[in-house]
Symmetry: C2
Subunit: 392 residues, 2 copies
């Protein structure tokens, strides 16, 4: 049978792209993993989550194992709302949707807003999984470069004005990670945040604010765009993946009631009650503040180790952005192809992610690479940076 | 802000329908629940699942709590393949996709095959959540009536021939629950299975075979359509929801490598490693055969209680189909509106689902209702049937 004739028009363009996940390079198991964008084993509260599952099943027996789940699903939403409230974001229950990680949120948002001719504005570089998901819906992107202060809103304004002048379609949605960005680790300045919101109103686009790393600050926590959102243009995405455990897949969208209702329309039959009930039990029984302060301390220490080692070992030509939170250091190796560098690095026993994966046009990332300090311990981080410096 | 202008064309039609889940009627908590289509609390292996979580986290620590999960995800696929093999269905690893319940499978299938003008053939009545999902993609349906022997393939042939004769578009996909159907409890006869496959080849459509209840047979297990599928037209859906626990959301699609690859394309970033690893551990540590024989015995006993009580208490005008497995008895109350009947029934302390929810045209289900014997114990089932008979 020829399948081609059966596929929907919705996906015919999408499957002309590279398949999702193809980007992932092979990393031998014995490397110091400066490539891994997930928490160190020692920072995942395994014991507590195990206790939480036990506690949940003792309390509620089979209830969380059914389709409809338990009151804990609403409690989880309430727990999320309380956390957002501490950060000056006020939401009602009907303004929050719990999703299977931020990825399901991005997919649902793409589904309700993006047709194959819709322009989506993204940072360049940006989170590759978000690119993958958006590319399942459209191939029309507007890329806005990032510098040390995050998305360059002046360039965004120029690009928008130019498109408008040329009668080209304007973006309907802008996807941004304004705080502790993946992969660059940068944070959008307060001035640029104000500017970005002004542009959204002026050029009438929605902002998807992915705040997955927002809780992982070293000294102080930037104020989310959502706090300054007057007319419901910002869809705020959060997640417990970086602060508790990615594998439980608990994220959320907070937005206007109308948007949440529409997202829920397409999500309703794809809920996951057990994971939500486990997370709610964990949050009730173990203060997240304690887990967060452990993470703050640990990631700051790891990041300091990495930055110190970079300063000590890297040649002068190499430069990097110093993050104020999150997981990542974004580094430039002028004149090098970081994909080729990765082959040498893994032979030497250290890994990173070549920059190209984070760009629509991979050529743009040739001289860049992403170092992650989230996974390895400080001594291994220093070792890894040293090994890497030796091959550069 | 006006959201309307922002919504994608993909969803503009969908959100003209009734919102998903709206159908769910209010059922007071103190009713005998002959409405609930999920397992009795005593049949969910809570203790074993709790042990499995503990065992998994002891063995693998933080691994199943990360994005990429553990080798247990492939093991789960292997375990599924072994189970299918016992039922004469041979699949390679790349011919199976694990999904978040059968619902995610249906959603992904709809996504890759259905545009807003695609005709989908469905049984009438059929599983309402499947209707909800398909209605998110199209409003063009072809309904094929069901009798005691399942989908009426002769009628299907007539309808297809008629459409073809009139130059109308033929369905691209037919969705069916051939074994222990929801809501009718019927099973497609062997002759009709052969006929259906012949029609699929002749009129060139795909078959989505939802076998969610296939393991819940009383005496013998019907052979799935997939076994006779020569040219890869059948997408076989299975699930652990009915045999282990719905809340873990573990289902699967088995189909050709090409279809699985395309489904995976849109699923890749929506995986759920922890739940998969828990299920795999449970299946390894607790023989499913034992759980299944418990279910066979229990559901047969419950079904017998229900059928005996119906025969004993219901007036002659009322008729029903006698199931050979699954969860449901489909009952006709001539001259009654079963939605109105539900109000009286819940006042009396018993619930069921009015038939109308299972039809695209709700009027078609007015005189029908679905009784479920899965949730309540035999004595409660008899009580419930008796109460119901008193108001009919």
């Amino acid at each position: 049978m020829k399948m081609e004739a059966f596929y929907s028009n919705n996906i015919k363009n999408a499957i002309q792209n590279d398949p999702p996940g193809e980007w992932m390079p092979y990393i031998p198991a014995d490397c110091i993993r400066l490539s891994s964008g997930f928490p160190a084993p020692s920072l995942v509260p395994v014991k507590q989550l195990k206790e939480s599952v036990g506690q949940l099943l003792d309390e509620e027996q089979d209830l969380p194992l059914h389709y409809l789940g338990t009151p804990k699903m609403d409690q989880l939403k309430q727990q999320i709302i309380e956390r957002l409230d501490e950060r000056e974001m006020k939401f009602a229950m009907e303004e929050v949707l719990v999703t299977a990680g931020a990825c399901q949120a991005i997919d649902l948002i793409a589904r309700i807003f993006i047709d194959e001719d819709t322009v989506v504005a993204v940072e360049s570089p940006t989170y590759m999984e978000a690119l993958e998901i958006f590319q399942n819906y459209t191939n029309s992107f507007m890329e806005i470069p990032i510098d040390e202060d995050g998305l360059q809103t002046e360039k965004l304004e120029d690009l928008l004005t130019e498109r408008q002048g040329n009668g080209l379609p304007l973006p309907k949605v802008l996807y941004t990670i304004p705080t502790f960005h993946n992969p660059t680790g940068t944070t959008l300045t307060a001035e640029r945040r104000t500017h970005l919101l002004k542009l959204a109103t002026q050029f009438d686009f929605l902002i998807v604010e992915d705040d997955a790393y927002g809780d992982l600050y070293f000294d102080d926590q930037p104020t989310p765009l959502k706090v300054f959102d007057k007319d419901g243009r910002v869809l705020y995405l959060g997640s417990f993946s970086k602060v508790v455990a990615p594998g439980l897949r608990i994220g959320w969208v907070a937005a206007t009631k109308e948007i949440i209702e529409t997202l829920f329309w397409f999500k309703k039959d794809l809920d996951h009650p057990f994971a939500q009930a486990v997370m709610s039990t964990y949050l009730r029984d173990y203060p997240l503040k304690k887990q967060l302060s452990l993470l703050h301390k640990s990631y700051k220490e790891k990041c300091d180790s990495m930055i110190d080692a970079l300063a000590k070992y890297m040649p002068d030509s190499v430069s990097w952005y110093v993050p104020r939170g999150g997981y990542f250091v974004w580094m430039k190796v002028p004149g090098e192809d970081t994909s080729k560098l990765l082959e040498q690095a893994t032979q030497k026993g250290v890994s990173f992610l070549p920059g190209k994966y984070f760009f629509l046009n991979q050529q743009d990332g040739k001289e860049w690479l992403r170092l992650s300090f989230s996974y390895e311990e400080p001594t291994a981080i220093v070792d890894g940076v040293k090994k890497l410096s030796e091959i550069i």
